[in-house]
């Protein structure tokens, strides 16, 4: 499994936990906004990422394009590692 795929799987798992959904209900191609993530849920996700990968992404120049799908977000995280 590539690093991007590993991060993507982690994101899917965490988003399902935060939004209280089944993992199968998280559409990997949807943007975070479309998935129903709000500010609080997003911060929860960033904290989970920091705890898992040791990278702090708050105020790190994340763009809307980075959050357009789980794959693009995973790629952005990978760049920061």
């Amino acid at each position: 499994m590539s690093k991007t795929a590993e991060i993507q799987a982690f994101l899917k798992h965490e988003i399902a936990l935060i939004l209280r959904l089944k993992e199968s209900e998280v559409n990997e191609n949807a943007s975070l906004d479309e998935l129903g993530i709000n500010s609080m849920a997003f911060v929860e996700l960033l904290i989970a990422i920091e705890n898992k990968f040791g990278v702090q992404l708050i105020q790190a120049g994340i763009t809307k394009a980075d959050l357009s799908s789980l794959k693009t977000f995973a790629q952005r995280i990978e760049q920061s590692l």
């Binding site: 975070l32 709000n38 500010s39 609080m40 911060v43 960033l46 959050l67």
Partner: protein, 430 residues
């Protein structure tokens, strides 16, 4: 916990419920209403009032809790809400025809009066008002006691009322989560208390926060600011370009704080800080979260001297750090430790400037009631109007409805003048 099995009519209060009881005490000590809030819906038609009355009676029969009262366990001092053994349902609906030429103004006045009407001791902690307008439309306002409902719980009840209207017969027991008195996990509760203390200490290390309200309280007034689809999209775009994606909440907090700083500067107060306790939802999305308070607070603060960019950065940082240290969760646990306190002492604590803050902020981003139809009529608008305790005396409540945003400014009469209200309204709009 086991206590719940022992007495099915006993609902122990959580830490936030006890803080809310303190706020209720402060509201009761001042003129005006209780610590309560309205959910107001603008309906395209007028629902049948007799049928509505029947549904409201059914709610009371389903949930005796509505006619309950606050008690305290004499042995362990844990406060609880006691449902009565049996209830006689009351008529809680007031129907009023609005005939005045200025319909909007007349409705606003009646709804303001409704917001300022406390619940009578022998009546349920829920009331309803139906205003019928000459054009055939109507306004339905449900008045909730905050001791029993939070904003999302109120919407859940609106949804349930709609279900009853449509002929559903839901099982009441599925809506009432019962908890034990939380007389365990003491070490954990004290650890959470330490987290809260550190956060409060960080606030108190700043200079004393500015306060709007130096009055003992009084009637509550409100105004509604509505952002339509285009207005809300523009706001989100601004938030994204200045604060980054998904940072609407800290952006709004920043904008509100800047408006507050402008108000204080105009009053001649400089070098102060604004503290805005911001509520965050701790709901799990369960059906049985209808009653009691499932939210927490984060004390967002900023100094008047900061620039816009600095303040925005600080608010995002605060938001992140509070979440990282689990402050919202810790506050609910630490609140449990305060439950043995006598209510007047608890009320005094919630009234201090460092804890009550300059203005309260709440954002409800996930609606519990999403339907376009209520009681068989099209919903044109639905928004919340909270009554604000004497301290801080100003609250800004935002609720998303689809692609629109409703913002309610609610304040104790006399603490803000029209020009100051305009500063707040303009800040959010532009």
């Amino acid at each position: 916990m086991t206590a719940r099995q022992n007495n099915p009519r006993r609902f122990y209060l959580n830490g936030i419920d006890w803080i809310v009881q303190g706020m209720q005490y402060n509201c009761r000590a001042a003129p005006g209403g209780d610590y309560q809030f309205l959910i107001i819906s603008h309906l395209a038609g007028t629902p049948d009032s007799d049928k509505l009355r029947g549904c409201l009676r059914k709610l009371q029969e389903m949930f005796p809790l509505l006619s309950g009262r606050l008690r305290r366990n004499w042995f362990n001092l844990a406060p609880y809400w006691q449902a009565p053994r049996r209830i006689v349902s009351k008529d809680i609906l007031t129907v009023t025809d609005v005939h005045e030429p200025d319909t909007e103004q007349a409705c606003h006045q009646r709804l303001t009066d409704f917001l300022n009407t406390p619940f009578k001791a022998d009546m349920p902690k829920l009331a309803a008002m139906l205003l019928t307008l000459p054009d055939g439309s109507s306004r339905l306002a449900l008045n909730f006691d905050h001791c029993l409902f939070d904003a999302a719980g109120g919407e859940q009840l609106v949804s349930l009322l709609n279900d009853l209207w449509n002929g559903a017969e839901p099982d009441a027991s599925g809506f009432m989560a019962q908890e034990g008195p939380w007389l365990n996990e003491w070490r954990h509760q004290f650890a959470c208390g330490r987290t809260v203390n550190r956060a409060m200490q960080a606030v108190s290390e700043q200079c004393a926060p500015s306060v709007l309200s130096r009055q003992p309280g009084g009637s509550n007034r409100y105004t509604l600011i509505q952002l339509d689809e285009a207005g809300f999209a523009a706001l989100e775009k601004r938030a994204e370009s200045e604060a980054g994606p998904m940072m609407l909440t800290p952006y709004l907090v920043t904008v509100i704080q800047e408006a507050l700083h402008r108000i204080f500067t105009n009053r001649g107060e400089t070098g102060s800080i604004c503290v805005c306790p911001m509520t965050v939802s701790l709901r799990q999305g369960r059906r049985d979260e209808l009653f009691f308070n499932r939210w927490s607070l984060m004390p967002m603060y900023s100094a008047s001297a900061s620039s816009h960019a600095e303040r925005l950065k600080q608010q995002i940082g605060l938001f992140y750090n509070y979440m990282k240290t689990k402050l919202p969760y810790s506050l609910t646990k630490a609140g449990l430790l305060c439950r043995p306190l006598p209510l007047p002492l608890m009320a005094g604590f919630t009234q201090k400037p460092a804890t009550s803050g300059t203005a309260a902020i709440a954002l409800l981003s996930q609606m519990e009631f999403n339907s376009d139809s209520l009681l068989g009529e099209t919903v044109k608008e639905l928004y919340h109007v909270p009554r604000i305790p004497p301290s801080p005396g100003l609250g800004i409540f935002m609720n998303r409805r689809g692609a629109k945003l409703n913002i309610t400014l609610s304040w104790t009469d006399g603490i803000l003048n029209d020009a100051e209200l305009e500063i707040l309204a303009t800040a959010i709009h532009t």
